[in-house]
């Protein structure tokens, strides 16, 4: 909403009253009853307060002078002798702390509990509204999921600012997903004890999402607030990574900071292998005839870079999870694949279990005993031994988890030890092995592609458009670009895993993380925020049901001019759920032709081009159901997105 939530209830009453008065006057002139009379909110009542039928038409309360002043823009801060009342706002310091942490974006839907902060974000500093830039979100769920997508793409947090109890509850599902995904997200919850809407406040504001946040604080002083922001950032980026929240009282935002100094920032410490273990691992890799490294999901692009360095130093063949999610080994690297010889005699897992030495960070289950105050029951939560990638096996070996240990932070020590062990003979042997692996992996890759393209011909010319054709037609258009596939592909065939090369830490951002819908579009906007200033384009193959949770995020993409190509996988149903119902009807022996009820999106069909147009997004002029029209449309879309604008193509598709 555009107006302050602080005054939302009373303002609505005032405006409705004004509208009703105007309408009543017009109706009297025309001699017809005013339809607004039937829609008036009873005096003193908001939602749920209206009586059922009958009775006289209620009269809207007259606005107070305070309301009139606010609605007419006549509210002014109290004058201070000699100049501004506040010369160094508390919120300016908060923004400076966030800026110093390198946060690029802050997404928020407006709310009166953080007007002090918002004003500082957009006005404070020599270059205001930059690092972070304020991103306008139309729903708090979108704001946090943007941060979710950004966090996956960059391996670091962006900020989401949430208004009180209502904003946090709007955001709750997306916080839950980021928690499951172990994605770093920094959040501020605004608390406004001076606001007129008591329902927006709580004694323990973060309590309602504590079970699925990693850390939270509700500081009571400005110095505590500044250090809490730094701590929240550190907690978010240390394993197990996750969403963190600092609840900030509006009074602290608006107070005079005086000469208060910014606290010094201390980077977090990560659990790493000790020197002895690093040496043992290095010996295992260097002395093996055929070492193997399984790479799961690392924390940041730097971890990926280090894993490449280790593999290249040791000539180890590697596995990757890059086709299933972010931050893993490049798929087309010459050492990625089964290699020339699959009888591995030493295996190392980097955030991947099952190896002779598996370095895996602490699982979420290590913090749930303390955090799960709502008794959701997270003790069995994923992560133990499986690495961030959710599993993986290095090959031979019975498995020996060394941990909890952060693989990325351990790599420098291991690499250092490897370099000490590399003699000229070892280097020659490793070079020969690397060449053999590279040849074998390239052959396997080409063979795999040749087999895959044969299968993708199925239904190629069928109408509606097959999902395989979408991914197949896209790849030649983007293979030489810096691209990111931001949307989950589990409902659209996952064809990219077979056809595309996933060589960057952000090539594919993976699934929803907790199976929650309404994820694809906002996560893609977050990924596009990450891409915007990096010469990258973002591809979102958007399922139709998923978009309809909070489609306002399309406007955010347009407003902030994001390089985002949205291709609708428009199958006009929730087909997985349709099949659940069909199956149940079949078991019960009735109505197997009625499964579409409640699980389809027809009558009417949704017009996504009009939806895009409503939000100001360019799109193809008409939905595409003829596959022969697809390639040209995709090229138009890629060309526009490369110029830094979002674009939508509505493709009527086969169900899966």
């Amino acid at each position: 909403m555009a107006q302050s939530k602080k005054e939302a209830v009373n303002r609505r009453g005032f405006l409705k009253g004004a509208a009703a008065s105007a309408a009543a006057g017009a109706a009297a002139l025309a001699g017809v009853p005013a339809i607004e009379e039937a829609q008036q909110v009873p005096a003193g009542g908001g939602r749920g307060a209206a009586g059922a039928g009958g009775g006289a038409a209620p009269v809207a309360p007259a606005p107070t002078q305070d309301q009139i002043n606010r609605d007419t823009g006549n509210v002014r801060p109290p004058a201070a002798a000699g100049g501004r009342a506040i010369t160094r706002a508390g919120s300016d310091l908060m923004v400076q702390v966030i800026r110093d942490l390198g946060i690029e974006y802050a997404a928020a839907n407006p709310g009166s509990s953080f007007e002090g902060l918002q004003e500082s974000f957009i006005n404070y500093g020599a270059v205001p509204n930059k690092t972070p830039e304020w991103i306008t979100a139309l729903h708090e769920e979108s704001a946090v999921t943007m941060a979710h997508g950004y966090g996956k793409a960059e391996g670091k947090p962006m900020l989401a600012v949430l208004h009180g109890t209502i904003g946090i509850q709007h955001a709750a599902m997306s916080i839950y997903q980021a928690y499951h995904g172990r994605v770093p997200v920094l959040m501020i919850g605004g608390l406004d004890p001076d606001g007129p809407v008591a329902q927006h406040n709580a004694a323990d504001l973060a309590g309602m999402v504590r079970s699925f946040t990693k850390w939270d604080a509700q500081p009571t002083t400005l110095p505590e607030t500044l250090t809490a922001l730094q701590r929240a950032y550190n907690e978010a980026i240390t394993p197990p990574q996750g969403p963190t929240m600092v609840v900030i009282n509006s009074r602290l935002q608006k107070m005079e900071a005086g000469n208060l100094a910014l606290p010094a920032y201390t980077p977090p410490k990560y659990p790493t292998v000790d020197a002895s273990t690093a040496k043992t691992i290095a010996q295992g890799l260097v002395n093996a005839n055929n070492p193997r490294i399984a790479v799961g999901r690392l924390r940041t692009p730097q971890g990926v870079k280090l894993s490449i360095e280790l593999a290249e130093l040791t000539g180890a063949s590697t596995s990757t999870t890059a086709t299933g999610g972010p931050m893993s080994f490049p798929q087309r690297h010459p050492l990625c694949g089964n290699g020339a010889d699959t009888t591995y005699d030493y295996t190392l897992g980097l955030e991947a279990g099952g190896a002779q030495a598996s370095l895996t960070g602490p699982a979420l289950s290590t913090i749930t005993a303390e955090r799960d105050t709502a008794h959701i029951g997270f003790n069995g939560i994923q992560g133990g031994g499986g690495g961030r990638g959710g599993g993986g096996r290095a090959g031979a070996g019975g498995g020996n988890a060394i941990g909890p240990t952060d693989a990325e932070a351990s790599l420098p020590a291991i690499i250092e030890q490897v370099k000490l062990l590399l003699t000229a003979d070892k280097k020659r042997t490793i070079a020969e092995r690397t060449a053999k692996h590279a040849a074998a992996n390239q052959t396997a890759r080409v063979t795999g592609i040749q087999q895959a393209v044969l299968t993708k011909r199925a239904g190629w010319d069928g109408s509606p458009v097959g999902t395989a054709r979408i991914y197949a037609e896209l790849w030649p258009l983007i293979m030489n670009e810096d691209w990111c596939l931001s949307s989950p592909s589990n409902f659209s065939g996952g064809h990219h895993a077979q056809l595309w090369d996933h060589n960057k830490p952000y090539s594919y951002l993976g699934g929803q993380d907790a199976g929650g819908m309404g994820y694809g579009a906002p996560a893609s906007v977050g990924a596009a925020l990450a891409a915007k200033n990096r010469g990258r384009i973002v591809i979102n193959v958007q399922t139709d049901g998923d978009l309809n949770y909070a489609p306002g995020v399309l406007w955010t993409a347009v407003h902030h001019r994001l390089p985002l190509l949205t291709i609708m996988h428009n199958n006009r149903a929730w087909h997985q759920e349709l099949m659940y119902v069909e199956y149940m009807a079949g078991v019960r022996g009735r109505g197997t032709n009625r499964g579409f009820i409640g699980s389809s999106l027809r009558d009417p069909f949704i017009d996504y081009n009009k939806m895009a147009a409503g939000y100001g997004m360019k799109s193809e002029p008409a939905p595409i159901s003829d596959p022969k029209l697809l390639a040209a449309a995709l090229k138009r879309g890629v060309d526009i997105v490369k110029k830094g604008e979002p674009y939508m193509i509505d493709v009527i598709t086969q169900p899966r």
Partner: protein
């Protein structure tokens, strides 16, 4: 589906994908296998006695397309070229009745049961007649520029 089942499905998908990718990466990947495969098994030639026009409507009404695609070539179980239980009309009707006593604890996207109480033999035969009109829409590989570009791209050296 409710959130719990969505999460369960999501985790299962993630787990399956992760295992598959680790086992097979990078060649071929782990996802999408079995979808829309082009098989060369010839279409059945056994008699089809139903009405294909009526069958087309029934194919949509009973949501057959949800898993088999509008053309029988895509989705979770494409059957064009891989006819399996569609070899004969009688075999197809019998197949539809197979799972009447299977009540899965977890939500299932498996082939539903279609007992006679909800789909008559005549309707099943009409659907069969319609299915038998399906044929492959798969062009020759040489006629698909995008797929050839993908193969060409795979032959290019890796660039970090």
């Amino acid at each position: 589906m409710n959130q719990t089942s969505k999460i369960t499905v999501g985790i299962l998908i993630i787990a399956v994908v992760a295992i598959a990718v680790h086992a097979q990466a990078p060649a071929g990947g782990g996802r999408g296998g079995g979808r829309g495969a082009v098989a060369n098994n010839p279409a059945p030639t056994s008699p089809a006695t139903g009405n294909a026009v009526t069958g087309k409507k029934l194919y949509y009404d009973y949501s057959c397309y949800g898993c088999h695609g509008y053309n029988g070539e895509t989705g979770a179980r494409a059957f064009v070229g891989n006819w399996g239980n569609l070899q004969t009309e009688a075999g197809f009707v019998a197949f539809l009745r197979l799972r009447g006593d299977q009540n899965p604890a977890a939500p299932s996207t498996g082939m539903p049961n279609f007992p006679v109480s909800t789909m008559s033999d005549a309707q099943a035969k009409d659907i069969y007649a319609y299915i038998r009109t399906f044929k492959s829409n798969a062009p020759e590989l040489k006629d698909i520029p995008a797929l050839n570009a993908i193969v060409a791209g795979a032959n290019k050296p890796y660039k970090p």
